[in-house]
């Protein structure tokens, strides 16, 4: 067989390789979001410190209390998202296997219930039915944000080119090997998009956890509303938004690095 001249084809290959690299962000692209968020935080700090607050408000907006509540908020988000991954990814894998085709619609309907009920209602229901505190809030968040991860796991696995799977099976890879080495790596980009969605939903919805005593940044917002202090409400909301954007940003970086090369 005649080999295409390597000298002639190498330059095009380099161009193509750099096209692949370009899909990972440039340094400026990586720095933009953290810089923006830092600036916003600095403005908030400057604004709070330059305003004459009453004694109660000052205590509520102390750095200490903001950090404690922020940390609790992060815990709620991370633990619930981990729970979502632990449940929705395996279920998504099972539902795309040929033997599960018939139960897929009903299974999705169950996950739809969680998303369908208004979030505040869901959290209240869990508190009434179980208890107040951290874990009921986590379970409510899981029920609320499992659907996007489930859907994206399924879509990600279903969009894998059937001919790729056929050739893998045809070469003698077992079903499990095809799943682990072919299907899941190829589904990662779509699955990660679902995880990002779940993270953002959880950051936002975790502000409601304050109503069942699970803490979080929702406490600051709520305190502002109850005391009629707009400043406190605005600060709580801005902190939540900054946290949401930060987590989404970190998930985006993870997504860039988990996406297999060559796609």
């Amino acid at each position: 067989m005649t080999a295409p001249a390597p000298q002639a084809s190498t330059p095009t290959a380099e161009v193509r390789a750099s096209e692949i690299d370009r899909r990972r962000r440039s340094l400026a692209g990586y720095l933009f979001m953290p810089v923006l968020l830092t600036v916003v935080l600095l403005i908030v700090v400057w604004w709070v410190s330059s305003t004459d607050l009453g004694f109660t408000a000052q205590r509520r907006l102390s750095m200490d209390s903001a950090l404690t509540r922020g940390w609790r908020h992060i815990q709620l988000t991370i633990v619930s998202t981990a729970g979502v991954l632990a449940i929705a990814v395996p279920v998504g894998i099972l539902l795309t296997r040929p033997f599960a085709r018939r139960i897929t619609p009903s299974a999705i309907a169950v996950f739809n219930i969680g998303q369908g009920v208004p979030s505040i209602g869901l959290i209240a229901l869990f508190a009434l039915w179980w208890a107040i505190g951290f874990w009921p809030a986590v379970v409510a968040l899981i029920a609320y944000s499992a659907l996007p991860v489930l859907r994206n796991t399924m879509v990600g696995l279903e969009q894998v080119d059937p001919s790729v799977i056929e050739s893998a099976r045809g070469m003698g890879m077992t079903r499990l090997a095809v799943l682990a080495r072919i299907e899941l790596p190829l589904a990662i980009p779509v699955m990660m998009a679902g995880v990002r969605t779940a993270l953002v939903i959880n950051v936002g919805t975790a502000t409601l956890a304050t109503f069942i005593g699970a803490g979080g940044l929702g406490e600051i917002i709520n305190a502002g509303i109850v005391s009629g202090n707009e400043l406190i409400t605005v600060v709580g909301s801005v902190l939540t938004a900054v946290l949401a954007l930060l987590i989404d940003y970190l998930a985006g970086i993870a997504e860039d690095h988990l996406r297999p090369r060559g796609l």
């Binding site: 290959a13 056929e166 070469m171």
Partner: protein, 404 residues
């Protein structure tokens, strides 16, 4: 016609399919109905037939990507109908039309798939990958680290073939491997593949819907009708000369005679003698050569006996006697070598607008002449030989088993 053709009786059967049936659930008719076929070692066997005749299903039954409803599959005489399908597939190369390279793996990793499954060590795998890339005409250094999407369609196809050959399987299954490639590249890949097959001598089952590809690639062709019934299983030559029934004749199409002359070569037929003169000869010598023959023109050869010009009486009459022979008459076009097919030869004739072609050897030395009548006779001869062979076989058959 599912019985083994007589000519192959002494070859080893590599794969035997015995009464294979595939009945998909929910369908009233089986997709493959009682198929029996012997596939001989080292041959390219083409499964060809109209869309939906079950040829792809048949192929997938062999590596059990589709499990047969009943019937048996033998590989090297061993019944593999119920053996571990994953182990079985690692011994059988598999190429499909979409190729199905793993987009997230490098070319080297793609090719290494089966060797890794078989637990080869890293050094052996790396050496094998480089060897295979060279076999399919790709530079290992330039290509092994690339990803499939950085390759052209033809290159991906080569990688697909390399991947199927990675663990050096005796048997390869190929489902329209050249189907999704432009006609020019396809032709080149087909030729490359045939050349490769001359070295590797694998047993290949090749599925296509294109009868021309089947004739070109196949040592033996199984023409399949609905439900994978074998309408005819024979060499391309015999199928073209003697279609078993109307279905086969229809499927081969009206171009059967044309296809047939694409199969026989100039070296297989008898060349005609023709009067020649050296280019140093005088007009008088040429006139004498013309008078001593019934041909209307003489071929002028140079000192190395290479064809130069065609000269006839008319040319002599119209030119002064002192012009060299090399400057008069008509150019000696339509030149072919012995390995040319009769169809190439005919094409040369038509292009040059002559009714004959000059045959030369590799050094361009004159060997003889083929004319249109010779080609016609050759085709007729093939047909008659085949009829005679069949008649003899039938008479024998009637004598022994009194079959109708």
């Amino acid at each position: 016609m599912t019985d083994a053709p007589a000519a192959a009786a002494d070859s080893t059967v590599k794969i035997r399919l015995e009464d294979l049936v595939k009945h998909f659930p929910g369908q009233s008719e089986p997709a493959v109905d009682s198929l029996s076929l012997d596939i001989y070692e080292g041959e390219i066997v083409i499964l060809v037939g109209p869309s939906g005749c079950g040829k792809t299903t048949t192929m997938k039954l062999i590596n059990r990507l589709i499990e047969p409803t009943s019937g048996r599959i033998f590989l090297d005489g061993t019944d593999v109908t119920h053996s571990n399908p994953d182990q079985l597939r690692r011994q059988i190369g598999y190429v499909i039309q979409q190729i199905g390279l793993f987009p997230h793996q490098t070319i080297a990793d793609n090719i290494a798939t089966v060797p890794r499954l078989l637990g080869w060590d890293k050094k052996r795998i790396a050496a094998r990958v480089d060897e295979l890339l060279e076999t399919v005409g790709m530079d290992p250094i330039a290509y092994r680290r690339r990803y499939p999407k950085e390759l052209s369609g033809g290159q991906r196809q080569r990688v697909g073939v390399a991947r199927a050959m990675s663990a050096d399987p005796d048997v390869m299954l190929m489902d329209e491997p050249f189907g999704a490639i432009d006609p020019i590249t396809r032709d080149r890949l087909q030729n490359e593949f045939l050349r490769l097959q001359e070295q590797i001598k694998k047993t290949i089952i090749f599925v296509t819907h294109d009868i021309d590809e089947a004739i070109k690639m196949g040592d033996r062709i199984a023409i399949l009708s609905e439900q994978s019934h074998v309408a005819q299983y024979d060499t391309p030559e015999r199928i073209l000369v003697n279609p078993a029934d109307d279905f086969v004749a229809d499927f081969i199409g009206r171009g059967a005679s044309l296809k047939r002359i694409g199969l026989s070569r100039v070296r297989d037929i008898e060349l005609q003698e023709w009067p020649t003169v050296p280019d140093s000869a005088s007009h008088e010598e040429l006139r004498r050569a013309l008078e001593s023959t019934d041909k209307s023109a003489v071929l002028v050869l140079d000192s190395q006996r290479r064809p130069q010009r065609w000269v006839n009486l008319d040319h002599l009459r119209r030119t002064p006697g002192n012009r060299a022979l090399i400057e008069i008459g008509l150019p000696a076009d339509a030149v072919v070598q012995p390995h040319a097919t009769l169809s190439d030869t005919l094409n040369e004739m038509l292009t040059a607008r002559y009714s004959l072609a000059i045959v030369v050897d590799a050094a361009h030395t004159y060997q003889g002449i083929v004319d249109i009548d010779t080609i016609n006779d050759a085709v007729r001869g093939m047909r008659e030989n085949e009829r005679g062979r069949l008649r003899a076989a039938n008479e024998q058959g009637e004598g022994v088993a009194s079959r109708p």
